[in-house]
Subunit: 112 residues, 2 copies
DNA sequence: TAAATATACATAAATTTCTTATGCATAAAA
DNA sequence: TTTTATGCATAAGAAATTTATGTATATTTA
């Protein structure tokens, strides 16, 4: 990411969850969505995003569908069945992480 | 860490906050404290902890005091003045991260 | 009492994940 | 017509970690 607001490892979880919500998305679309949802706060760099997408695909969590729109290439990614299961795990891990951090660094925080 | 529950970058924040709460701690004590507070969920590996402590010290955020207890060496770390200020910043960043993840992956979570 | 575990530090090699810097190409806007 | 936006990609380097060791003393267990 362009700034220091995200912890390493969280990018994959973001990608998986966005795909889970939106069915299918292409790389550039993901960067814009993250920027929009975070109010311009978070910038996913291409150097981080594309390798991450390729790796998730190599792991069998995503599958690709190439399309040509306005004479420009797009690679639509969507979750595989295995990817959907893994998304559930990753989100649970994120919740665990947040709860752990809550206990460790701030007993005043909590998750609803 | 020995598990996949922690996002990279969070270790420093954990160390700073624990020292802020407990005044002074030594490395092994930190690993045990994290294990206890997380219910055995989180394991800080020595390979991650000691280099992190050395780096925080080199940055001037921690200072060391060596002690010998039961004929065994202990290195007590505590926050410097600069370390106390930085702890506030790191905790704020962690809050920002959690709020960002909340918006991105689960609109149902919130921080009190 | 010998062996295993706990306490306590440390570092080095490899891996993962990210940033920064490029590169290519087309479309739209200034 | 030059800049910005759209859209992909990779390579070099940095940062934080894992995994694998190494050393040493104290305590527990078989």
């Amino acid at each position: 990411m362009g700034n220091s607001k995200l912890y390493k490892g969280s990018l994959n979880t973001i990608i998986l969850k966005l795909l889970d919500e939106n069915g299918k998305m292409y790389g550039y679309e993901i960067t814009q969505k993250v920027k929009a949802l975070s109010g311009g706060d978070l910038n996913i760099t291409e150097g981080a995003l594309y390798p991450a997408l390729h790796k998730l695909e190599a792991e069998g969590l995503l599958e690709v569908e190439v399309a040509k729109v306005d004479n420009r290439l797009r690679k639509y990614y969507k979750l595989t069945e295995s990817g959907e299961k893994e998304t559930v795990n990753r989100l649970a891990e994120l919740e665990d992480f947040i709860r752990s951090m809550q206990k460790l660094v701030n007993p005043n925080w909590s998750i609803d």
